[in-house]
Symmetry: C2
Amino acid sequence: MDFDEVVTNIVESAEGALAAVIIQNDGVPLAEYKKPETSVDISSMSVEYTVVISEIKKASEALEAGAMEEITVRSDELVYIVRIINDEFFLAMILGPDGNTGKGRYLVRIAAPKVAEEL
Amino acid sequence: MDFDEVVTNIVESAEGALAAVIIQNDGVPLAEYKKPETSVDISSMSVEYTVVISEIKKASEALEAGAMEEITVRSDELVYIVRIINDEFFLAMILGPDGNTGKGRYLVRIAAPKVAEEL
């Protein structure tokens, strides 16, 4: 499996998608793709989201809320969808505010277990 | 506006909803309601989610991603929807894994600005 192809397909298959990235727990991207016209900084995003994911994992454990699967954060400018791949990796996708979030969630949900098999 | 009524209405209007709470930034609930049959611990949840929200706000600022509006966290057992009310308060809702998340998101999106007006 070509991880670059996975992230490229995700971005090109959802209307309004800007970028997608497979990130390791240390904040380093394994594969990334962004549309040429977007100014999204994937490196900074990866580092920041690694911190957020780690906090949410801690919260979920404290609350005994079960294994975390997905996080969506909406701001007035962007939508972030993060799907947990396994203990070490997660898949993140960014869409514009009018992007097709439902399609985005579907794409990352389908892709995550396929990526997990190869890691 | 009766804040207890707001959280009760949210829980009673979405299929599979378990609890809703208006939380201050220090983690203290202003109003809360949960279905009698749920074991969700609203106090612990409020404290844990206050930490998470603060981390996501920091991340959003670092990424210049615009004002954070909503966060959804899905685990295999629960769905948490958090809607920012203003700088000091947020509205959180918990649903079971088969709950109507779309309806839940709609309800908190509608309620948040009304609560904001009264605070």
